[in-house]
């Protein structure tokens, strides 16, 4: 079915070749399980976030000056979106719930990559691009959380920008570059708004690179074995477009439940204190980042020395970059690596425990739990280079 127009475009772009190589003849292993749905879901949420964000910007005002009601222009503009703009509540809640949904989906995606060894050769660079995406996402989420200019926005930004003060010599300078003043204020709000708009554009570009890199090295699979392109694959379209569409349906059920019935998610997606306008003279009783940043917040809190805490928090993310080179085993999937399987499950548990600790108010007990979880977190990476020396892997299917 080749119309004249299609041929005209094809002659000038090679469109038919692109469609064939990327969709209708792009080979995907036929044994993928549902853990492979999260990549396409992440792309969907990225599109939703950019779309809803563009519409929110039509009414949002990044201005920390006071209004006669005693609030600020920024806070009031968000409330106006909630109350007066047609469907404003829907678009804002789609964006706020979307932020958390994005991390749910991406953390599952990363967890799948860890468990099935997708980060190992030849997919090292694919993984590294993914880590860059994670860091940009966390930055975008952090910048975005300041914009409503509520109490948690303000004090969250104060705490995080203060982290940079721990850097020796340059600390105060870095802090002022970030804040545009001596404390978080109107200049901070404006630059965070600018960066919150920039980062998704970067994200879109780098996601393009991530997908390109994937299509060069092709998907890993639950068995983690190299696949025979003739025998073991099926074309992406229609087989995986249909499977991804099913995943989208399941995802949207959960997403819509939260958007329509539980948008604050009991304080997990939008913290209670953020319904109070920012007050630079009063800190809320308990400050915690949103759930998706809490694991790293706990690592920060674990160390008594401020600089060490900041450094370890940075290291906990930076170490993901070198993960492909730490793991020396020839077998990819945890299915055939009994020791690694236990390690990676422990690692997942440690991240959840770290997240729980970071979300809770600090207590002596939680400090000990957090320390243990931090040790497990780093222990996973420290042990990884030596596992292959004593691990007895199970035989791979297909005699490989």
């Amino acid at each position: 079915m080749k119309t004249g127009l299609f041929k005209w475009v094809d002659d000038r772009t090679g469109l038919e070749g692109i469609i064939k190589s990327q969709l209708t003849e792009y080979p995907v292993p036929k044994n993928l399980n549902y853990m492979w749905n999260f990549g396409s879901l992440a792309l969907l949420v990225l599109v939703l976030q950019i779309l809803t964000g563009i519409f929110l910007v039509m009414y949002y005002k990044p201005d920390a000056s006071l209004t006669y009601g005693g609030y600020t222009v920024a806070f009031d503009s968000v409330e106006r979106i909630m109350r007066d703009i047609n469907f404003g509540w829907l678009i804002r809640y789609m964006h706020a719930v979307g932020a958390s949904a994005f991390f749910v989906v991406v953390y599952m995606h990363i967890g799948r990559g860890l468990y099935y060894g997708s980060y190992k050769g030849p997919r090292e660079l694919l993984w590294i691009i993914g880590v860059v995406i994670l860091l940009i996402m966390q930055g975008a989420a952090f910048f975005g959380y300041l914009l409503p200019w509520g109490q948690m926005s303000f004090w969250g930004a104060t705490v995080i920008t203060n982290l940079f003060g721990a850097v020796p010599v340059l600390g105060e300078y870095l802090q002022q570059v970030l804040r545009g003043g001596f404390a978080v204020g109107d200049p901070t709000l404006n630059r965070f708004f600018s960066l919150h708009y920039l980062f998704p554009l970067l994200l879109a570009a780098i996601v393009g690179g991530h997908i390109h890199a994937l299509h060069v090295v092709h998907s890993n699979n639950p068995d983690g074995v190299d696949i025979d392109h003739e025998k073991d694959t099926i074309p992406f379209h229609p087989y995986y477009t249909v499977k991804d569409a099913f995943g989208v349906g399941v995802f949207l059920l959960g997403y819509c439940y939260f958007v329509f019935f539980q948008p604050e998610a009991w304080g997990y997606f939008i913290e209670v204190d953020n319904f109070v306008p920012a007050n630079n003279l009063q800190t809320p009783a308990h400050i915690a980042p949103v759930w998706y940043l809490t694991p790293w917040y706990t690592i920060l809190r674990t160390f008594e020395n401020k600089l060490l805490g900041v450094a370890m928090m940075g290291a906990s993310l930076a170490i993901l970059f070198v993960l492909p080179f730490l793991d020396r085993s020839k077998v990819r999937s945890a299915r055939y690596r009994p020791v690694f399987r236990q390690m990676v499950i422990l690692f997942f548990i440690s991240v959840v425990v770290l997240g729980y600790c970071g979300h809770s108010a600090p207590t002596a007990t939680l400090a000990i739990v957090g320390t243990i979880a931090t040790c497990v977190y780093f222990g996973f990476f420290l042990l990884l280079p030596f596992v292959h020396k004593f691990e007895k892997t199970k035989p791979l299917p297909g005699g490989e």
């Binding site: 519409f55 469907f87 404003g88």
Partner: protein, 199 residues
């Protein structure tokens, strides 16, 4: 298993799935397009109250209604006299050319001539119907005060500085002007003897 695909069944599924997808996409677009329409607080500001007793005889005041400039003129007896007698020079002396140039209160010949509920108080949208500039108020007759910016038989009215449209003292457009219509009127009512609610 048969090699033969059931193409009619397959095509039905394609069309059904594609059709439902299109409906879903359309439904999703509704709130997004809807959010770009005037918001509730914008609509709530659609009415404006004004005390006409603050305008002295012969004075013109510009107020705002729905973000648009509005002329309120307290016309003298002499000005009301000069509204009459030149219907042949007007494009639309009875304000019948369109919905915007008439209002539901224009129910008598006098109200059509004076384009006001109270003849002396003229309330019109201050945007030239050509391209939206605010016309200049040139109320006195003849060229004495205005030079040749107005025609020699000038009976008083408005002159648009952008493209030279002329309106008489009832804000009716004069023949030969680029403006197609009289200045627009709107619904309004007097809450008390002097306080008018516009919109």
């Amino acid at each position: 298993m048969s090699d033969k695909a059931d193409h009619s069944r397959r095509n039905f599924l394609y069309v059904a799935a594609g059709g439902l997808g299109a409906v879903a996409a359309g439904a999703t677009a509704v709130p997004f397009i809807g959010s770009m329409l005037p918001a509730a607080d914008t609509l709530a500001a659609a009415k404006t109250e004004f005390d006409t007793s603050t305008v002295v005889e012969g004075q013109l005041v510009v107020i705002q209604w729905q973000g648009k400039p509005v002329f309120v003129v307290n016309r003298t007896a002499d000005m009301l006299e000069r509204v009459k007698g030149h219907d042949d020079k007007l494009k639309d002396p009875n304000s019948e050319a369109g919905e915007e140039v008439q209002a539901e209160w224009m129910d008598s010949e006098d109200k059509r001539t004076f384009r006001a509920i109270k003849p002396e108080i003229l309330i019109v949208v201050a945007s030239c119907t050509h391209l939206g500039c605010i016309p200049l108020f040139k109320p006195t007759a003849g060229q004495k005060d205005w030079g040749d910016s107005v025609p020699s038989d000038w009976a008083g009215g408005w002159h648009c500085p952008c493209h030279g449209s002329y309106y008489d003292l009832s804000a009716r457009v004069v023949k030969g002007s680029p403006a197609p219509q009289n200045l627009h009127v709107m619904s309004y009512e007097y809450k008390t003897d002097s306080i008018v609610v516009i919109g």
